[in-house]
């Protein structure tokens, strides 16, 4: 049948071509299967890693910064709750309007607003942005109550550094503030924690020295995020370790007392335990408020700090350098005894001393008459010390000064100490290129001239003198993270005990014998007698004309030209425990200004007698620690 034949040829062609199509399809399916095998088996590990990289995000958790406490465990720096308002941009339709409403509760300046709008643009819309920080409880409560009217705004509580004593301790604990660009650069990729928003690092004082210890170990949270970075769930969490607790040797009661006593002056004082070197009080006035640095000083406040002529940003106790004046005389006395001078030998003081053409004046216009070494210390006779300084020479004086801790820094945990200067002919030749004059030996003998010391050095000098010539070094850290640091064994200083006795006795006389320069500031209570030495450091040159017409009184001089008032002391006089140095910048005379301050503070120290009390036993690191 023709019909069938015609269809047959079509059918045969169709069958052939259908087979071709089927074959092509089978081939295509094989290709797909092969590709799947390649992706899902051969390259699976690689892609699995990429998938995990996609979804897993490691977020650092800032550890709680360690506390700083005093020797009795009183908190000097801790973390306080910071009431904030945060806003999640995606939860509000109109950010500007929300901010307007919020500003009825909390002040939002134009500057703040600009900053907020910038943050909004920068970060994903589901991440909270801090819109107001450090709210009062009242403001915080109002934000809470008004939440329904503030779409997207949520009350939030964060942690921020808090210094309960503010200014009183600013020069000891220092402060923390936002991480600087420099720190970021220095750390490179090593310390990702620095990049956490709101992270603070120690910038001064103990906060700076022990920054690493206080910081703790950052925790981490592995979170699963979606393609937009939103956290879906937490996969694992390592809370990290809070920072270590730092225990200071300070007694906050004494610190506060000393601060209050001196806060109106431009002054500094250091109180030390003469055996262990424990610093019990470390004051420099005026100061700044550590809390304000943490939250960011306002421009006006910071400018006021910079403009203040009393330099509140300078830690005068270790970076303020002053001629020691007469407080240096006990050193000269000991050097003289070492050099073989008989302390009983007297020098006649007519009120001046002639060296060649030059006249060197004693502070007492009419002179002291015949002076032995004890009396010369007690009355602070300048002529006596001109004479013996000339006899023993500058080298011996400088040596003794160095042995007692002047002209050097110690391994002390508050950064910023300055060396000061104990001058020698060698130094003068090297630095000034001039030879040493004998007149310079004379004025060094009364603690003037090139000699420069810091209050910390003077306290160390006094402690070494009081403890019988042991080279104690000051320390302010008692324990770090529960580990108690024991003071190093002090070395014996090479000094004639007889000279040491004369120096101590002379300082006893200064306070406890009628006619002593600090008799008026003595402590009369039995067992609390203290020994001391006044010092008045001249900061200007008195001309011959002025001397002829009568030396101007300090009250008549500009503040900057007045003498520095100094005082060093130790107590109790016959069984010493504590040593102290006080320097009042441009305060006038040592006996009139510095000695009364020293009296008040030392009296308080003796009454509290902090080293005899049970100190705080840190035990965080190991519960068994502190038993022995």
């Amino acid at each position: 049948m023709q019909f069938d034949n015609r269809d047959n040829s079509r059918y045969q062609t169709f069958t052939r071509r259908a087979a071709l199509l089927g074959g092509a399809q089978a081939l295509a399916f094989a290709t797909l299967a092969g590709r799947m095998y390649y992706l899902q088996v051969l390259k699976s590990d690689e892609y699995r890693m990429l998938a995990d990289e996609n979804r897993i995000n490691v977020r650092l958790l800032a550890p709680l910064r360690g506390k700083i406490v005093d020797r009795f465990g009183r908190v000097l720096a801790s973390n306080r709750q910071n009431y904030r308002a945060v806003m999640i941009p995606e939860q509000t339709d109109n950010i500007e309007e929300t901010l307007d409403r919020l500003s009825r509760i909390v002040e939002i300046t134009d500057y703040d607003r600009k900053k907020i709008m910038r943050d909004v643009k920068r970060s994903p819309r589901f991440l909270p942005i801090t819109v107001a920080e450090d709210l009062s409880w009242d403001q915080f409560a109002r934000v809470n109550v008004n939440e329904p009217d503030l779409p997207g705004v949520q009350p939030d509580v964060g942690e921020t550094r808090h210094y309960p004593y503010g200014e009183d301790l600013a020069h000891v604990v220092g402060y923390v503030s936002a991480v600087s660009e420099k720190e970021l650069k220095a750390a490179g990729k090593d310390e990702p924690i620095l990049r956490l928003p709101g992270f603070r690092t120690g910038k001064q004082g103990i906060e700076k020295t022990f920054d690493k210890e206080l910081r703790g170990v950052p925790g981490s949270s592995h979170v699963e995020v979606n393609a937009y970075g939103r956290v879906i769930r937490e996969l694992s969490k390592d809370p990290g370790q809070p920072g270590k607790e730092i225990v200071l040797t300070l007694d906050m009661d004494i610190q506060e007392f000393a601060w209050n006593r001196m806060k109106d002056e431009s002054a500094s004082a250091v109180v030390m335990d003469i055996h262990s070197g424990d610093v019990l009080s470390f004051v420099s006035t005026p100061a700044f408020d550590s809390n304000k640095f943490n939250m960011g000083y306002s421009t006006a406040d910071y400018k006021a700090l910079l403009d203040n002529i009393h330099l509140p940003l300078v830690n005068k106790a270790l970076a303020g350098l002053y001629p020691p004046g007469s407080t240096f005389k006990p050193i000269v006395a000991m050097a003289a005894v070492d050099a073989g001078i008989d302390p009983k030998e007297t020098v006649y003081c007519p009120g001046y001393y002639r060296l060649g053409d030059s006249l060197f004046h004693c502070w007492r216009h009419g002179g002291h008459g015949n002076m032995n070494m004890h009396d010369a210390i007690k009355h602070s006779c300048d002529v006596y010390f001109y004479e013996i300084a000339k006899r023993i020479g500058i080298e011996k004086i400088a040596e003794m000064a160095t042995r007692f801790g002047l002209g050097q820094t110690y391994d002390f945990d508050i950064p910023g100490a300055r060396e000061g200067l104990v001058p020698t002919p060698g130094w003068k030749r090297a630095i000034k290129g001039e030879s040493w004059h004998q007149g310079e030996t004379l004025i060094t003998g009364i603690g003037q001239g090139y000699l420069l010391t810091s209050p910390l050095q003077l306290a160390v000098m006094t402690a070494r003198l009081a403890n019988g010539g042991m080279a104690v070094v000051p320390r302010i850290t008692r324990a770090v993270g529960g580990e108690i640091i024991h003071p190093a064994e002090a070395a014996k200083i090479d000094v004639d005990p007889k000279g040491l006795g004369i120096a101590q006795g002379g300082m006893d006389g200064v306070m406890n014998e009628i006619g002593g320069t600090a008799w008026r500031s003595r402590i009369p209570e039995k067992g609390m007698h203290m020994a001391g030495k006044t010092g008045t450091a001249q900061v200007r040159r008195i001309s011959r004309a002025e001397r002829a017409s009568g030396v101007l009184k300090n009250e008549d001089l500009l503040w900057k030209q007045r003498d520095h008032a100094l005082f060093i002391c130790f107590a109790p006089v016959h069984a010493p425990k504590y040593a102290m140095a006080v320097v009042v910048e441009h305060g006038g005379s040592g006996s009139g200004v510095a000695a009364p301050i020293a009296h008040d503070i030392m009296y308080e120290v003796l009454k509290r007698d902090p080293t005899q009390r049970q100190a705080y036993m840190p035990s965080e690191a190991d519960p068994n620690r502190g038993r022995g």
């Binding site: 015609r6 169709f14 399916f29 699976s44 892609y47 996609n54 979804r55």
Partner: protein, 383 residues
Amino acid sequence: MVDFSRFTSGRDMRIGEKLIEFNWGFLLLVTLIACMGFAMLYSVADGSLSPWAFRQMIRFAVGAGIMIIAAMIDIRTWMRFAYPLYAVTFLMLVAVEFIGLRGMGAQRWLDLGFIQIQPSELMKITLLLALARYFHGLTLEEVSMPRHVVIPVLMIGLPMGLVVIQPDLGTALLLGAGGAVLFFAAGLRWRYFIITGASALAAIPVVWSRLHDYQKNRVFTFLDPERDPLGAGYHILQSKIALGAGGLFGKGFMEGTQSHLNFLPEKHTDFIFTMLGEELGLAGGIALLGLYFLVLAFSFNVALQCRNQFGRLLAIGVAVNFFFYIFINVAMVMGLLPVVGVPLPLVSYGGTAMLSLMFAFGLMMSVYIHRNVEISRGPTAFW
């Protein structure tokens, strides 16, 4: 040696007979594939039937109904209505140009009040009907005669042109490819294909210059997906990561991180195969491809068994169209082809594609049921 023992061209089957003859195994096969789709849509919605899985089930059920009804209708009736159906669809394509709804930057949808339809989807099927009808009336020699080539080329080219200006290049190419397959199966001489292929290659520069930017970008991105991992290449890269991370047996149902954390785009539609590969692994992917392969094998078998040219061409046309979708979609998500908006048949979420495919399967089933019907070539037999 034709077997007339059961059915002859002389006697029409009753509905009951047709229902028995209906290949229910095939429907089961198709249902299995659709179920894999339901499972994936359930997973995309994080373990919820809404918004996708349930609606997809409804559509599949409706589709199955359409398939059965289409299968019941006599193949000769379909043949009789082939041209009118084509004409109506063509008019709808024209209408879309004027009153069509816009979606995704292209004018593709026609709103008929009670239903929105995509005429271009319908055109894929009615074009097959019309071409099969046309080639049915030609002898093998006539197929390759120029005047008989021109008419089907116009039948393919006119709707293609309309779809291109929607613009929907992907569908237009699929229309062209579907038409070409029928030419091939009808026995058009090889030289036509060679000439067309050569001139198509020559035309590439011209076409390229007229492409939209997004179309050009897709090609660029295909050529080098890592070129801009956060930009245009993102989809392909994330898709490959998802598949690769799935490994041999997958991360587990509903456990795919790439898809559930939204690294994967369009995972309920075009990239659903990726999600399947991530959650069920190579095993799941091969299983799905295996099921597809069975569908294709059945369809080819229908075509080869059929005793009329119209049915053969229709069946093979449906099968190859179905294959094109699978291949383009799967090859795309694995980075073998540029990203084009082609869904994975029976699995991707989408109503029109599902319904029109089930309709096409219904036509094929009609071919199967009426495979022994002989139809004369002459146009006088109908009309």
